[in-house]
């Protein structure tokens, strides 16, 4: 087990190096000069352009820029943004906010989605099942910004149950509504995945065996059916968590969440190489770790799964 984890972590190193290089190259190759854009509609004299470029090392060839950046990383220096803030500070500020949002959202998905999917699957074809399918169909066909704006308007502006946008410090309470909106996007998938998985497991031999040896339904459902149905759901949830962590730009925009999505979007627009690459590197790390955790979770859920030595 430990060897497996170690090997996976070692694999992560070339992946990380490769992604930073690729992303840095892509930001570098992006058409348009970010320094020209800094001047807005005004056209600066070429000498001033050159002087500003020099300040951000943008006058050097690509490979030199990349090596300078890479060298900085090993000294714990991720560079600075155009606004003069160290990129490490930006990371430290935005990731916790997005992490809270993603955790809350995943929590809602797990509690709401899995529960509803389970009930639907157990009462296949009933009223509850039918209405759950209809509701999830509606949610899946609505773009997230529609759900976001309507939720904000109804629950925050009209009813006043929530703050319209996230307040200072992005406390947990303010993140509830954005988290629900975010969860709404994946809600349908979770419900349907759980439902079909539960239906399938319900028809398995071991469930019938369990029933015939006299186990109560109350024990069969959580221990035998649910647990065995969760593998595809957990995989989906984990991938989804990764997606949430790398930022939900639209939702963060609607609720003004000072998180990863917003910040990264602005950085891309401005062509701030160091900021973009640092963010993406952390995102890749998160993806790798989450995927590793999922693979480890499989063994917990299904003891038949073993890891190759």
């Amino acid at each position: 087990m430990a060897g497996y984890i170690l090997r996976r972590l070692l694999q992560a190193i070339p992946v990380l190096l490769g992604t930073t290089f690729l992303i840095y190259f892509m930001v570098f190759a992006m058409p348009g000069d970010p320094i020209v854009a800094l001047f807005g509609e005004k056209t600066p004299p070429p000498q001033v352009l050159e002087a500003v470029r020099e300040r951000y090392n943008l006058d050097k060839p690509f490979i030199v820029q990349y090596l300078l950046f890479l060298g900085g990383i090993f000294q714990g220096d991720l560079g600075i943004s155009f606004s003069g803030e160290p990129v490490s500070d930006i990371l430290a500020r935005t990731f916790p906010v997005t992490l809270r949002l993603a955790l809350l959202s995943t929590l809602f998905l797990m509690v709401g989605g899995i529960l509803i999917g389970l009930i639907s699957g157990l009462r296949k074809g009933g009223i509850f099942d039918a209405s759950a399918l209809v509701v999830s169909l509606i949610l899946i066909s609505l773009p997230i910004f529609v759900i976001g704006f309507v939720a904000q308007f109804v629950f925050a502006i009209q009813l006043g149950w929530f703050r319209t946008t996230v307040g200072p410090g992005a406390p947990w309470g303010d993140l509830v509504l954005p988290a629900i909106v975010l969860a709404a996007g994946s809600f349908a998938q979770i419900v349907r995945l759980t439902r079909s998985s539960v239906i399938e497991t319900d028809g398995q031999d071991f469930v019938r065996t369990a029933a015939s040896k006299g186990l109560s339904r109350r024990r069969i459902v959580p221990v035998h059916i649910l647990r065995n149905s969760l593998i595809p759901v957990v995989t989906y949830l984990a991938v989804d968590f990764g997606v949430l962590m790398v930022g939900a730009t639209v939702t963060e925009g609607i609720f003004n969440v000072p998180g990863v999505g917003n910040t990264l979007y602005q950085a891309i627009i401005r062509g701030e190489g160091p900021t973009v690459v640092s963010f993406v590197t952390v995102m890749v790390l998160i993806y790798l770790v989450v995927n590793l955790l999922v693979d480890l979770l499989y063994a917990v859920l299904d003891p038949r799964i073993r890891y190759a030595k």
Binding site: G32, D33, A37, L38, E41, K42, S83, V250, I254
Partner: protein, 540 residues
């Protein structure tokens, strides 16, 4: 000053839903007029793109903060008229040498006195090439300024005594005093020079407000300002402070205003432009701003040089129905252009001879186009370049369609994915089509709309327009010692522009804002920013 661009989400659908519901959301409780002098005003803003150093801030996000925490030699009142702030007097006899005296007893919030040195050092720093300041070109008319080599101390700045300094310009420029309210000309305290980077994070100013504490600038979130009790100028705060909250989208700010979390906003999202005036009534504003929108057809494009180009430009201008576009596409939040400047500027006139070329007149358009065809038959298609990330597609397509229909030629928009790419191809002169341009004045003066854009070799003359007659009139206007005489010259210069149309004027942007019923005395300045210092707020 550069307008901060904001991510525009595709939100029309949601907005339509929200608007249908919004009719029933008002409460009719009358606001108490009593202001509380300790109340904090909350408003929208955007994360400054640069450290808060006056000479390195050229966009509205940082500008709004700097204008609140610094005081220059002058400030502009609601009409854009200059009023002395730190300056006791600004005197000149020839519009070339200015003697500036600073009021006695003015202080920075760290207790340092505001002296002649505070200005001169800050200006020299801002101008020096090695410091690569974004606003360095504001000092280009001062004697000794150079783009080619680093100059630590410009010869045109001389400290006479503690409170007096003398500025010598390269040539007479009568509107120089008018510029001095712009943020690039703010003074800096001695404390700034110890560590300018750190200073940009926690600036120390001399204006109506100051930072609430070390670290009051919470990046990407907000900045908290409190009243500066020691400020003695004309902008003394009638409230206790200002909280500027940074928004990534204007929709979020608008929702916060509706939800009562925000007192004033100075931008309305596209989705609410058609309805905000109904919703907020007399607590909303839609007035002309000092922003001029146009598109440029460079001389170097085939068929747009010389006499033929003149005819074709006039034909295109006549083919555009500006009223229709401002009504239909912008819901009346743009005003059709009547000149090359803006209605909020002193000396603006709707009746400059030649302005008829801006009238929608399809017959005349076709006539002129045919005349041009007689010189050289038209071929190819006409395209207007724009950046697709700035919400320009709708109007560019509309303008192109009008040109297409009226002139019977192929005309389309030519989108560039990002602003950076768009501006780079303009700066490099790589663009082979017409392209959109916008200009927001840095200071309220006619010449600020004309000289940087159309003078031969001027920095932002993106179409490489050149007309010696125009240059001469501008020089005469700037050299005039009398304001009225200067204005007259600038008007005459515009007559030439109407003949040559180096840019096709489209419309003026308006400032669109709204505020809650808890605040009073809300007025928007000439530069579209609310005069926060005079706002009063009653605590609920």
């Amino acid at each position: 000053m550069k307008i901060k661009r904001i991510g525009v989400a595709a939100i029309a659908l949601a907005a339509a839903g929200a608007l249908a519901l919004s009719g029933c959301s008002t409460s009719s409780e009358p606001a108490a007029p009593e202001g509380d002098s300790t109340a904090i005003i909350t408003t929208n803003g955007s994360e400054p793109q640069n450290p808060l150093i006056p000479t390195n801030t050229n966009e509205t996000g940082g500008g709004k903060i700097l204008d609140s925490i610094f005081a220059g030699l002058i400030y502009y009142d609601a009409e854009g008229k200059p009023v002395n702030d730190m300056a006791e007097s600004i005197e000149t006899e020839d519009s070339q040498t200015y003697t500036i005296t600073i009021k006695e007893g003015q202080e920075f919030t760290n207790g340092e006195p505001v002296t002649a040195e505070s200005f001169v050092k800050a200006w020299n720093y801002g101008a020096a090439l090695d410091n690569a300041q974004l606003s360095s070109y504001f000092f280009e008319s001062i004697e000794g300024f150079s783009y080619d080599e680093n100059v630590d101390e410009m010869s045109g700045l001389e400290v006479i005594d503690e409170r007096t300094f003398e500025v010598t310009l390269k040539q007479p420029e009568s509107d120089f005093p008018l510029r001095l309210g712009y943020s690039a000309y703010y003074p800096l305290p001695e404390a700034a020079w110890e560590d300018l980077e750190a200073f940009g994070e926690n600036p120390i100013g001399n204006g109506p407000y100051k930072l609430a504490e070390e670290g009051a600038w919470k990046h990407n979130e907000r900045i908290d300002l409190v009243k500066n009790e020691d400020y003695q100028g004309g902008r003394q705060a009638a409230n206790g402070g200002l909280e500027i909250i940074f928004y990534a989208t204007q929709d979020a700010a608008y929702a916060d205003l509706q939800g009562g979390n925000l007192d004033i906003i100075d931008a309305i999202p596209d989705s609410a432009l058609a309805t905000y005036e109904d919703e907020f009534g007399d607590r909303s504003v839609n007035q002309a701003a000092a922003i001029f929108q146009s598109f440029v057809i460079p001389d170097r494009l085939p068929h747009f040089g010389g006499e033929e180009g003149k005819l074709r430009r006039a034909a295109i201008s006549h083919a555009i129905n500006r009223e229709e576009i401002t009504d239909v596409i912008f819901s009346g939040t743009r005003t059709p252009a009547k000149d090359f400047t803006s209605p909020v500027i002193d000396g603006y006139s709707e009746d400059i001879p030649g302005a008829e070329v801006l009238e929608y007149d399809p017959e005349r358009a076709v006539e002129l186009w045919e005349e041009a065809n007689a010189l050289s038959p038209w071929e190819g298609s006409f395209q207007i370049g724009y950046n697709a990330d700035g919400g320009h597609q709708a109007w560019v397509d509309a303008v192109a369609n009008q040109i297409k229909n009226e002139l019977g030629i192929d005309a389309t928009g030519a989108p560039y994915p990002t602003f950076a790419e768009f501006r780079t191809s303009i700066t490099d002169r790589a663009i082979q089509t017409a392209f959109r341009t916008g200009w927001q004045a840095d200071y309220p003066s006619l010449s600020n709309f004309l000289a940087p854009l159309y003078q031969t070799g001027a920095g932002s003359n993106d179409g490489d327009y050149s007309n010696p007659e125009f240059d001469q009139l501008m020089a005469d206007g700037l050299g005039a010692t009398d304001v009225e005489e200067g204005i007259e010259k600038f008007q005459q210069a515009q007559e030439i522009l109407f003949e040559d149309l180096p840019a096709i004027p489209l419309w003026y942007s308006t400032v669109n804002g709204a505020w809650g019923e808890q605040v009073e005395n809300v007025e928007f300045g000439w530069n579209s920013v609310p005069l926060y210092y005079q706002v009063t707020k009653s605590e609920e």
